[in-house]
């Protein structure tokens, strides 16, 4: 009789412990809002390319980063910046992981860059202007993105899947 009671208690303890562990794990994984520890932006861009939505793109030189975007390379942990090979199209992908404390500075520079691009486009193509105006700079912790494309939402969904 006593043995049966003890076994019953043990079983209850085990079950309760398991339930507790399950709840804690569920809470920790589902409620976490911070990005993963590290996201490889090259991997992200490869996935974006696989969506087959982008035209032929070309990687932007690092010296253009400072000349045109006014962003210091030293403020970035990693970056992927690509523009359309046809300079008349607005398509552009900017993915940057900022160094600690540099996020706001980079966001500001990119917003200004986007604004300037819109101004240029207003002068030569209402279509490209409309594409640029629909796009914005987004931040996910230290990960900053600026995705300009007629299919921007498709690409943003791919990007967000990494976070």
């Amino acid at each position: 009789m006593r043995n049966t009671r003890n076994m019953g208690r043990k079983r209850k303890t085990i079950i309760l412990t398991l339930i507790l562990v399950f709840i804690v794990t569920a809470v920790l994984t589902s409620c976490s809002r911070s990005p993963k520890a590290h996201v490889d932006l090259n991997e992200v861009y490869e996935k974006i390319k696989q969506s087959s939505v982008l035209p032929q793109m070309t990687m932007v030189d690092e010296n253009m980063l400072e000349d045109a975007y006014a962003i210091q390379r030293s403020d970035c942990e990693q970056m992927v910046i690509e523009v359309c090979s046809n300079a008349r199209r607005a398509d552009e992908i900017v993915l940057i992981e900022a160094k600690d404390g540099k996020e706001d500075k980079i966001i500001q520079k990119l917003e200004k860059w986007l604004e300037n691009r819109a101004q240029y486009a207003a002068g030569y193509s209402p279509e490209q202007y409309a594409i640029i105006k629909k796009c914005a700079v987004h931040a996910n912790g230290r990960y900053i993105s600026m995705i300009v494309s007629p299919e921007a939402q498709t690409l943003i969904d791919v990007y967000n899947s990494f976070f």
Binding site: M59, D61, N63, A68, A70, S85, R88, K112, Y120, G123
Partner: protein, 274 residues
Amino acid sequence: MKHLLKLRLLFSLSVLILLLGACGTHSDMPAMPSEESADTHQPGESTGILSMSPPPEKHITIPVKSVPAPAKYFNDAVFIGDSISEGLKVEAMYLKNTFNTDYFGKARFLTAQNFGLFNALRGSNLPLYKGEKQPIWKSIAQMDITKIYICLGMNDLASFSVKEIISNYKTVIKKLLKAKPGAKILIQSLTPITRSEEKNQVYKLVTKARLNELNQALCGMAEKDGYYYLDIYSVIKDNQGFLADKETWDLTCHMRPEALARWIKYLRTHTVKD
């Protein structure tokens, strides 16, 4: 006797006149070295009375074709242009980053859509530099460059006469040279438009005939003012003087890689002494 004396006098005078004529004070005649300066000559140089300093090099407006320059030749160059030059910039980046083929080294690009000489002077559609729109001469002043390539005028052709464009061009160059004294100015010809653009009269005043007129005027200006002229038009056009439709992105004047490759090759093979 008197006759002989006269003859001798005449002879001596003739020789004197000849000598004076040869050593005249004309500005482009080389100086005769004095006996003193003979001691400063380097070994191997002639020190005789007839040795002369080499004549000043005649300015060659259109650089002679040579072997392609290495990428580092362009490290101290800046390319100023409009949307057509934007295409050149992007193509150069594409070749470098995709195929590891670096043609332009650390060359800078000051380019913007719809940019032109009038806009440069008026202060609109200015190219960005360090994130700021500012006059190109202000941007140039901040750069470590000695060669300034300019390819502007297409956007001006739609609204101005050739004479007005040349006048604006001169003003822009003056400002550039004030910002960067001694820089070499390399004026690139305008590039051709397509038959489609001319036929559809996208811009009424932008025609093959006016393009050619402006290019001739640019060459003349370069020759007169001591700049260089790069005849890009000649390597881009087809045998009827147009840009082939299939070599554009948009059937106007914005070139695809096939035409851009010829432009790049021309730039690399028509260089100036550093």
